[in-house]
Amino acid sequence: MPGGGHCPDCGSTELVEDSHYSQSQLVCSDCGCVVTEGVLTTTFSDEGNLREVTYSRSTGENDQVSRSQQRGLRRVRDLCRVLQLPSTFEDTAVAYYQQAYRHSGIRAARLQKKEVLVGCCVLITCRQHNWPLTMGTICTLLYADLDVFSGTYMQIVKLLGLDVPSLCLADLVKTYCSSFRLFQASPSVPATYVEDKEKMLSRTLQLVELADETWLVTGRHPLPVITAATFLAWQSLRPAHRLTCSLARFCKVANVELPCPAASRLQELLAVLLRMAEQLAWLRVLQLDKRSVVKHIGDLLQHRHTLVREAFREGPVGLEAGEEEPRGQCGGPGQGKEEVASGSCGLPVGKRPASPALLLPPCMLKPPKRACPPPPVSTVTGDENISDSEIEQYLRTPQEVKDFEKAQAARQDARSVSNPP
């Protein structure tokens, strides 16, 4: 086959290129003599020309996966890396994304929705592993709208039939508090503002538990409550230097965004603390207000369980009467307490700690904005006769029709005059 070569043994010109395993050789087809051999090892420059075939290309895995799905899977992995999640989370999130992609509704969705789907898969994975991650964080990272995110999230939970546990409050407190830049002195943080992380964390946790017990957390976004609790905890640890600092300034110094409802949560929490302070004899004489109660938060938290029970059970008579009204036609406080015990938790009455009688969610303590009149009793059957006169009120008379047409034409003319072509 090749030209110009002679076998040194028999002189034949029939030389064949053959390879012995990976070594190429030139062999005489007559006598089998090996004329020349190739090099077994490759040099550095040779290897530069070799192309490495990736596993996914060699198995043809990516041929079945569309480009947008590949992009989405890459985004999922990137998001997990940005959030510094463990590698097992990455695999779970990728699996969820692939599962979701099999549904036609997701495959045909807009790119905006697919982008948001990436965040949903990561969020579900984190929730299932009790990793505290809020929707707000993901929306900020993906530059997504919370409405679009919430719609996609609810859809995907329903579609995949997943059981997503709720956000764990204690873990969220720890993560969120750690993001406050108050634990080291810096040019923007005065020395009096610096605080020990562990002390602040434990006090914040106690305040958040107190808020949870007194109906300030149920039904609300958790972050503003935690912000307010962190602020109070920080203030109470060195009140002398920190009482003058407002919530907004605190968030600015700590380099954390101030959520809007945090101010009203702060007022609610202070009101609860004031009620508790009234139960302590040595604080009652001091006649505390919302600023001075901060100095005594440490004492109040130490005895918080007893104080909450006492503060909300022995309300003054006038207050009790006032709070009965919003509850309308329902049973008395004693009955309400029983039904809280047996209705909401499913635990027997004896086991559940008694909820204080006057402890209500804040929205129930405010007077109702509009009185709801009882509906009039209607005797409509649906099959009565309808008289002509009743129908005539819904139809225009011919004169009215003509007037309407004239008015429309006049408006059209006025519009064309004011907007000349």
Binding site: T134, M135, G136, L146, S150, Y153, M154, V157, D163, V164, S166, L167, W215, V217, T218, G219, R220, H221, P222, R327, G328, Q329, C330, G331, Q335, G336, E339, V340, G343, S344, C345, G346, L360, P361, C363, M364, P375, S378, V380, T381, G382, D383, E384, I386, D388, E390, I391, E392, Q393, Y394, L395, R396, E400, V401, F404, E405
Partner: protein, 161 residues
């Protein structure tokens, strides 16, 4: 709740949604011109017509499908739908009142106690879903009745389905 509890729960129906067909094509322009209390949404291709008694808003499509919302009982919804069909008949369309069906009923109820939503969700896991970051209420789905309940911490419950 005990079966013989002496606290009567008032459940109030606030909205009934129903649909019916007229089995004829409707000229939306004519309805918009000759009907009173109408809003013509040309971009979407529908006409909104409001009746005073019963207080109902009807969405009319040119295909003859009509959706009525705002009634406070099923009988009222049927009465309002028939009234609407009569009005369209008077306008000159060959309307036949068919396929009347109540699609959705929304009711509100108040429990005499507050509910701790996180604990409630934990105890009712597959049916209840609670996302405080999105909505202040627990969404409880009853598959067998095809109903959804929104349970608020104040004890107020909204039932749809």
């Amino acid at each position: 709740m005990d079966a013989d509890s002496d606290v009567a729960l008032d459940i109030l129906i606030t909205n009934v949604v129903c649909v019916f067909r007229t089995r004829c094509h409707l000229n939306l322009r004519k309805i918009a011109l000759e009907g009173a209390n109408v809003i013509y949404k040309r971009d979407v291709g529908k006409v909104l017509m409001k009746l005073r008694k019963p207080r109902i808003t009807a969405t009319i499509w040119s295909s003859g499908k009509i959706i009525c919302t705002g009634a406070t009982s099923e009988e009222e919804a049927k009465f309002g739908a028939r009234r609407l069909a009569r009005s369209l008949q008077k306008l000159g369309f060959q309307v036949i009142f068919t396929d009347f069906k109540v699609v959705n009923v929304l009711a509100v109820c108040n429990m005499p106690f507050e509910i701790r939503l996180p604990e409630f969700t934990k105890n009712n896991r597959p049916h209840a879903s609670y996302e405080p970051e999105l909505h202040p209420a627990v969404c409880y789905r009853i598959k067998s009745l095809r109903a959804t309940l929104q349970i608020f911490s104040t004890g107020s419950i909204t039932v749809t389905g």
